[in-house]
């Protein structure tokens, strides 16, 4: 089992979710984050001061998958989020030692989906 963590542009979330749905990957957890990467901060201007804050709003996607789903998950994320421009984000894959469904107490691969 793997835990996939992806950092995306906020406005790409919908497209990524659609691409995941197409591959029947429905379960996921989303949160707000601020990213600092190669992308220069979208410069905002307040009373003439350019706030090149290099912390940019991003969305963090967390998806636990069985190994066979890893490839499609990564593909879907790339499909939905890639623009080819700096700031597209990253995907991190971690080994998942265990997964438990709270409702039933089931563990392992069956609990993931």
């Amino acid at each position: 089992m793997k835990l996939v963590i992806a950092i995306l542009q906020s406005h790409k979330l919908d497209a990524v979710m659609k691409a995941l749905d197409e591959r029947e990957i429905y379960l996921k957890t989303v949160s707000n984050v601020l990213g600092c990467g190669r992308q220069k901060g979208v410069s905002e201007v307040y009373r003439g001061v350019r706030e090149a804050g290099n912390l940019i709003k991003k969305v963090r996607l967390e998806i636990a998958v069985n190994d066979s789903y890893l490839q499609p998950t990564v593909e879907a994320i790339i499909k939905g989020a890639q623009t080819g421009k700096i700031g597209d984000g990253k995907i991190f894959v971690l080994e998942l030692a265990e997964c438990i469904r709270i409702r039933t107490g089931e563990t392992g691969g069956v609990a993931i989906g």
């Binding site: 406005h11 919908d14 601020l34 410069s43 905002e44 201007v45 912390l55 709003k57």
Partner: protein
């Protein structure tokens, strides 16, 4: 002769109407959009407060209320408020300075195009919005205002009654909003993806401030601190309350729960609907008008819009267009001379003629608003384009149109 009580009352009323546009409408609309577009939405109201304040002083007032030319438009002899002095102009108001009448009317000219912005929220280019609003105010609002309220205006001459702007303000803007919604096209994702209001407390704040300011709008339209103002005040409050209750009751029955958004929307619908009638009807009639407002606007917003799937993002048409229309016709039904001697009786009080005049006004304002709005949008589309591009829409208008964001994320 100038009367201090009337002057003080109308001054305060003008201030209240100013408050309706910003923060009132700004927050009502701003709460309804997504986080990434809240500033651009609020900015439209605030910017129009600035822009129309100047347009009105420079030439808008003269076009709308200046000496009549052929019953269709005012002359330019009052540009820059020339000849608009501190003496009263008995054509409009015998007891307050003419300049006060002009500035009270200014606040109406400000809010009317701001109402339209509900239709193009979350996708219109700022420059195009600004140009459209300026032209619309000049070519639609100012003439329509002259027809209905200007001394010599042809709709006024045939006896149309519009106490505080059912046709001039709500119908004209609401119908134009529908044209905008159709021509701009839907927001990306609409209607398939959920686009819930990002801050419902702002919606309630805005709706409450609108209700408050509407006392200046309607009671202030008596242009005097007298019984008529009191009558309009009560009709206004009653219709707002009844329409809100009606809306919530429908929700309660049909969807199981009354909602805050339903209450707020119903109140605004009631306020828009009572506007033309507020100075002519009894409190009982105001109740009936409130019920009609709640039921018909609810249907327009919930059923008609969803059936036709145009994207009138914040329901400017369903609330103000439909509300203005019902209100104008209801005035033709419920108006009573005993309430306002300067008015007329409606159908239910023995005079069918008034309803005819009201219907003409509705028809004329609808057709004229549609045609002009259509033409203006076509023109601006050619020159500047109407919509931001897809990428900008995704990123949000706050960033792409104003280089700002409304909220920071880290604490």
């Amino acid at each position: 002769m100038i009367n201090g009580s009337d002057t003080g009352f109308v001054l305060m009323s003008a201030a209240l109407v100013m408050l309706m546009t910003s923060p009132g409408l700004a927050f009502f609309y701003g709460g309804l959009v997504r986080r990434k577009n809240v500033l651009s939405t609020m900015m439209q109201s605030f910017f129009l407060l600035c822009l129309l304040s100047v347009q009105w002083v420079l030439f808008g007032y003269s076009l709308a209320f200046g000496p009549d030319i052929g019953h269709v438009i005012g002359s330019l002899s009052w540009i820059g408020l020339k000849n608009v002095s501190m003496a009263p102009n008995p054509d409009y108001s015998a007891t307050i300075p003419h300049a006060l009448f002009a500035v009270f009317q200014m606040m109406f000219a400000v809010i009317t195009p701001a109402l339209i912005t509900g239709a193009f929220a979350e996708r219109m280019k700022f420059a195009s919005f600004a140009l459209f609003s300026l032209l619309w105010a000049t070519l639609v609002y100012d003439p329509v205002c002259h027809w209905v309220w200007g001394s010599g205006g042809w709709l006024k001459t045939i006896g149309v009654l519009d106490f505080a702007g059912g046709s001039v303000v709500h119908l004209s803007s609401g119908v134009s909003a529908l044209v905008c919604a159709l021509m701009l096209g839907r927001r990306k994702g609409y209607p398939n993806e959920p686009l819930p209001p990002h801050n419902m407390t702002y919606v309630l704040l805005g709706a409450s401030l609108l209700w408050f300011g509407w006392f200046g709008f309607n009671a202030g339209s008596a242009l005097a601190a007298n019984g008529l103002a009191v009558s309009a005040f009560i009709a206004t409050n009653t219709a707002a309350a009844v329409a809100a209750l009606t809306w919530m009751a429908i929700e309660w029955i049909s969807a199981g729960k009354p909602t805050v958004l339903g209450g707020a929307t119903g109140a605004v619908a009631g306020l828009a609907t009572i506007t033309p009638a507020s100075g002519y009807v009894s409190v009982g009639s105001a109740m009936l008008i409130g019920i009609m407002a709640g039921m018909v606007c609810y249907s327009a917003v919930v059923f008609v819009k969803q059936k036709l799937t145009y994207d009138d993002s914040l329901d400017a048409f369903g609330v103000h267009g439909i509300g203005g229309m019902i209100g104008m016709l209801a005035t033709g039904l419920f108006a009573q001379k005993v309430i306002n001697g300067a008015g007329n009786n409606g159908l239910f009080f023995g005079n069918a003629g008034l309803l005819g005049a009201q219907a003409v006004a509705v028809g004329v304002v609808v057709v004229y608003s549609i045609l002009l709005t259509f033409a203006l949008l076509k023109l601006i589309d050619l020159v500047l384009g109407l919509r931001v591009n897809d990428e900008e829409e995704l990123i949000g208008l706050d960033h792409t149109q104003h280089k700002e964001s409304a909220y920071t994320l880290l604490d």
